[in-house]
Amino acid sequence: MFKLLYKHMHKYKYLMLLVILFTVLFTLASLLSGLVYNFVIDHVINNQPVHNPIIRFIASLFYGIEFIQQHFWITAILMISIYGCVYLLQFLKDSLQTIVSEHTTFHLRNALFEHLQLIPYATYNELKTGDIVQRCSSDVDTLKRFIGSTFSELIYALSIPFIAVAILFNINFKMAFVSLIAIPLLIVLVVIYSKNIAKSFLISDEADGELNTVVQESLTGIRVVKAFNREQYEMQKFEEKNMAYRKVTEKLIELIGIYWSSASLIAFLQIMFIVGFGIFQVRNQTLTLGQLFLFVTYSSSIVWPITNLGRLIGDAGKAYIAAKRINEIFAYPIEDIDVGEEYPIKGEIVFHQVSFHYGDSNQTILSNIDLTIPVGSSVAIIGPTGSGKSSLVHLLCRLNDVSEGAIYIDGHNINTFSKRYLRKHIGIVLQEPFLFSKSIYDNIALNNEHQDSSYVDSATKAASIYDVIQQFDQGFHTLVGEKGVTLSGGQKQRVAIARTIIHPYPILIFDDSLSAVDNMTEKNIRRALKETAKDSTKLIITQRINTCMDADFIVVLEGGNISAIGTHQELILKEGLYKRIYEIQSQMILGGEQDD
């Protein structure tokens, strides 16, 4: 935990030393205020002779005890100035803590975000978004609280008993002993607390998490819930979790209540003992009234920080777990997107004996793919679900790396390119594109160096989405997502296409990215592409025959193998998948025509 925090504190770690210093000074000053009471009660009010040379010296600063007794307001000034020091130190320590903790979280958050962006493509499928986001938000907050308060409270709670005990033993050994009876009891209590309550906290947090998950899932899937008339079922599921959370949390709070009440019981009994025992001591002249008062105040100064220790240890434990969870994110290996060459890219693509499987899995996704795509040609890739179409184009962008064989672009093995450079030259529109919660304009001009609106206009026109956008209330400035307009699947796909074709990529890939668009629109987009991207090499994954007919040649993928390559005319003459698909998609039209 400390390593993680230390790393992100940067130069502010020196301020942390100041925080420790101020905390100790604050502790000392607050104990000093007790001694001032002692002085006022014994020497000023009760007029007892002063033996201690330090006190005598301090008294002499105010022209001696007698002068103070004649000008009693000096006691008030004395109290206010000592409290002034205490609270000034408190202010300094708190402010420094805030600065250090905010600075550290700032760096930690940035580092997390950067790391998350550089995780390899395949790893994202393993991530649970909700879980990661929670780590990045609430776990970071837990660490922030640790630096921002828990840490110095711990120092305070651990240092105050030692200093106070030292002072008390100096004053009256027997009384000090009596004042310490509570400490072992409290420690036992703290240990019991840390063990049991921490567990209850965990149980309650989990119940809360489960409840929130039910709410989240039920509401995101509300259409399914309604369509299947499952409202009652959802309500039962919710009620169950709601009740479970209520039960465990009620128990948790009661447990905390028992803890605090027991600690208070010990504290009160402690004071009762000090007063009772002190009365004998004062009567025997071995203790002064002021000292008795000091014992009473100090014993509460010891009891409460130790009681608090239970909570603090719990918080420190939470911070430790939070750090561990955050470190797990940092433990995901990241890809270096900047290492590699930057050869100019024209767009010739060669797959040579390419095979692919995920990590250790022995399920082959692609095997022995040999494929040459000349510059500027358009290739349609067709095949059943799970035949490896997407994997094939992902390999080209190095979203995944080939397991065997190699892919060459213009004669260079793509593994020698820097990933950033490679991806900047290959435009790919994913099957389920993601739009950022910005305006439509910003989504399309995301990576556009020129930021010129005429580019955005022509790209959206080519993607057949210009008119749709114009119809929105705020046109191109309409926000996308929860706070703005909800786009349909087809609209999203078209915005994603516009976002891609705004750049003159030498290689363009469409990963079934027109599946949710109607035929007419799809045809218009294909037409537009022919003009705007005529020099680009185009790879188009599709389920539609008419898209295939448009391509220079067609690759048929089945079970990770290329089962056929050829033009539309060639393939419809061969027995095989392509011909069958063609027949499915066209038999009726031909049947209909034959009657004419």
Binding site: Q90, T98, I99, V224, F228, W260, S264
Partner: protein
């Protein structure tokens, strides 16, 4: 149609007593517990106040007046008694708070969730899920805290102040006034700071949710980010937000960092005044030493409840917005409700009387339907359609032509503005929403799966389905092939929202889910758009067999999906422009014909018709 969510702005909501009274109504079922909790917690501080009094008296008696030491056991006994009473008070305080807080949160969440389950589609179409979730979780939790801890604190603080003031005034009214002088300052400073601290805190929470959103987007959009190569752009934007957060937090922190020491410092003036005046009086022998001790202790503790008051008031004022947002949800009118008579017969969605549900044969009639989401943009007008039981109806048309609206109306996710929809000759509003939904199998375009196994997801369609039923449904759709290839087969986890599966696979599961439900009417809204042609052909076969006797509505872009339909409706601008089966419509050589033939490249068409036709089919 633009679906825009416009949240009412509650940020300047002022503290309204009526809102809190309405919240308090949640406690009606346990009003006796609430009342006794409030009374008990007002009285219990008395014992806490007596403790310093006993100590002061003991010191005066034993040490100043040199009283009889035999009375020590009496002192111990009385102290012990007071201590025990105080501790019981503490225990009760926690017990009451726990009970109230949890009851409040539980009940309000129940009420909200209950309401949400009854809300119709139109609400969810325009309200972001994230917004609703915050209402049900964080808003409720926050209010529950105020309605329990803060409320009880208020009463016990009041008890403390009243008792302590009374005792101080009785013991020595001059010293008491010295302590009370500081009261207005403490309250005013506390209030001034608390309001600002909470306002800043609200700003931080807003920034926090922006940053959380960024993380969310960073992960969900990671693949897109990679393909576009915009890592640096994203990081720069993110850094802008975190920097803003850092500055705002430090500024907000400054307020609390000043407030706490300052308020303590001001309280120390009361102590100083007591020491000065009280000490002087003891010195002159006017008051006893015990009295001074008593006032010193009270001066130390007296201001805590006062600070709490300021804090509670500021919190309550700040939480008013949360309360208003919750009320806005609770008061939201439900667009589609059953009439009283219908509810009487068929029950509500959450308490249905399924024994009264009639079976559906499947005759459907749309009669003079008019519909719009927004009055300026009519979607359907004078729409009429008659479907016989068992027929398959396909709807085609461009995006926005109104085909989804037609099935939304059929499923009663929306209701017609005028006209009526008859199912087996009866207006569907004469039967309950639950009745209809339990008879319709609706497969959505964007298939949503719940986290859990494939088995659980399919069983969602019919909670009583046997494993065999589920296998059969999957076999029909040939989904068993891919499912059995998965490591754990039917017990495989589908991931969050089903994201471990491809879109096509999700569509198959969602289709299977509808089949096990064994509905009387099927509605397939682009249900196979991401499934490849061969698989789709198998599904076609399934559709024909499973749905043979059932009325089925299909929306599809791919015409091959719909050629076998009994009736094909071509919809344009909310009107049926062509109607008939595939052959009739092809022969019409109108819109459908054009749409259909457009699936082929015109340039190749002639060639195709001449050359390929014979080779391919002979």
């Amino acid at each position: 149609m633009t679906n825009r969510f416009q949240e009412q702005d509650f940020s300047n909501t002022k503290f309204k007593f009526s809102s809190w009274l309405r919240l308090a109504k949640v406690y009606l079922p346990i009003k006796k517990t609430l009342l006794s909790a409030l009374i008990i917690n007002t009285i219990t501080p008395l014992s806490e106040i007596l403790f310093p009094l006993i100590n002061s008296y003991a010191i005066d008696y034993f040490l100043i007046k040199n009283g009889d030491l035999d009375k020590i056991p009496l002192f111990i006994g009385v102290s012990f008694f007071v201590i025990i009473v105080t501790i019981i008070g503490y225990l009760l305080f926690f017990k009451h708070c726990a009970k109230l807080e949890m009851f409040f949160a539980y009940s309000l969440k129940q009420e909200l969730f209950h309401k949400l389950q009854k809300m119709s589609f139109s609400y969810f179409d325009v309200t972001p899920v994230g917004w609703i979730i915050s209402r049900v979780t964080s808003d409720v939790n926050r209010l529950a805290e105020i309605m329990s801890w803060a409320l009880i604190d208020l009463f016990s603080g009041l008890g403390y102040l009243v008792f302590a003031t009374t005792i101080m005034l009785i013991v020595n009214y001059k010293l008491a006034l010295l302590v009370l002088i500081v009261v207005p300052f403490i309250y005013y400073i506390s209030y001034w700071f608390q309001i600002r601290i909470l306002k800043n805190y609200r700003g931080i929470r807003r920034l926090n949710s922006i940053i959380t959103g960024r993380f969310n987007e960073g992960i969900q959009g990671a693949k897109t980010t990679k393909t576009l190569g915009i890592e640096t752009l994203n990081l720069d934007e993110f850094k802008g937000d975190t920097l803003n957060m850092k500055h705002t937090s430090i500024k907000a922190g400054l307020f609390s960092n000043i407030y706490r020491p300052l308020i303590n410092f001001v309280s120390s003036f009361a102590i100083a005044l007591v020491i000065w005046q009280g000490g002087h009086q003891v010195f002159q022998g006017v008051i006893s030493f015990g009295t001074l001790l008593l006032f010193l202790q009270y001066a130390n503790q007296f201001f805590q409840p006062l600070r709490n008051f300021a804090n509670i008031y500021a919190e309550a004022q700040n939480a008013s917005a949360n309360a208003e947002r919750i009320f806005s949800l609770l008061d939201e009118e439900i667009a589609i409700v059953d009439t009283k008579e219908v509810i009487e017969k068929y029950g509500t969605i959450l308490q249905p009387k399924t024994e009264n549900y009639e079976d559906i044969k499947g005759d459907i009639e749309f009669k003079d339907i008019e519909f719009y989401y927004n009055q300026k943009e009519p979607i359907l007008k004078d729409f009429n359609l008659k479907v016989q039981a068992g027929q398959t109806v396909a709807l085609i048309g461009e995006t926005g032509s109104g085909k989804s609206t037609i099935v939304n109306l059929l499923c009663r996710f929306y209701e017609p503005i005028s006209g009526e929809i008859l199912i087996d000759g009866v207006d569907y509003r004469k039967r309950s929403i639950g009745w209809l939904h339990s008879k319709i199998g609706y497969v959505l375009q964007a298939p949503h799966l719940f986290s859990g196994t494939i088995m659980e997801n399919i069983r969602y369609g019919n909670l009583n389905a046997e494993d065999e039923d589920i296998y059969r449904a999957c076999k029909l759709l040939k989904a068993d092939e891919f499912i059995e290839k998965l490591d754990k087969g039917y017990q495989s986890d589908v991931g969050e929202g089903g994201n471990k599966l491809s879109t096509g696979q999700k569509q198959l599961i969602s289709f299977a889910r509808a089949i096990v439900a064994n509905p009387s009417i099927y509605v397939l809204d682009e249900a196979t758009s991401s499934i490849d042609s061969e698989t789709e052909k198998i599904i076609q076969y399934t559709i024909e067999h499973v749905m043979k006797d059932k009325t089925t509505f299909i929306i599809a872009h791919r015409l091959s999906t719909i050629v076998n339909a009994d009736v094909i409706l071509v919809i344009q601008n909310g009107k049926i422009i062509e109607q008939g089966n595939h052959e009739t419509l092809m022969n019409l050589k109108q819109h459908y014909y054009r749409l259909y033939t457009n699936q082929f490249n015109e340039q190749l068409q002639d060639e195709l018709m001449k050359g390929v036709k014979h080779e391919a089919f002979e």
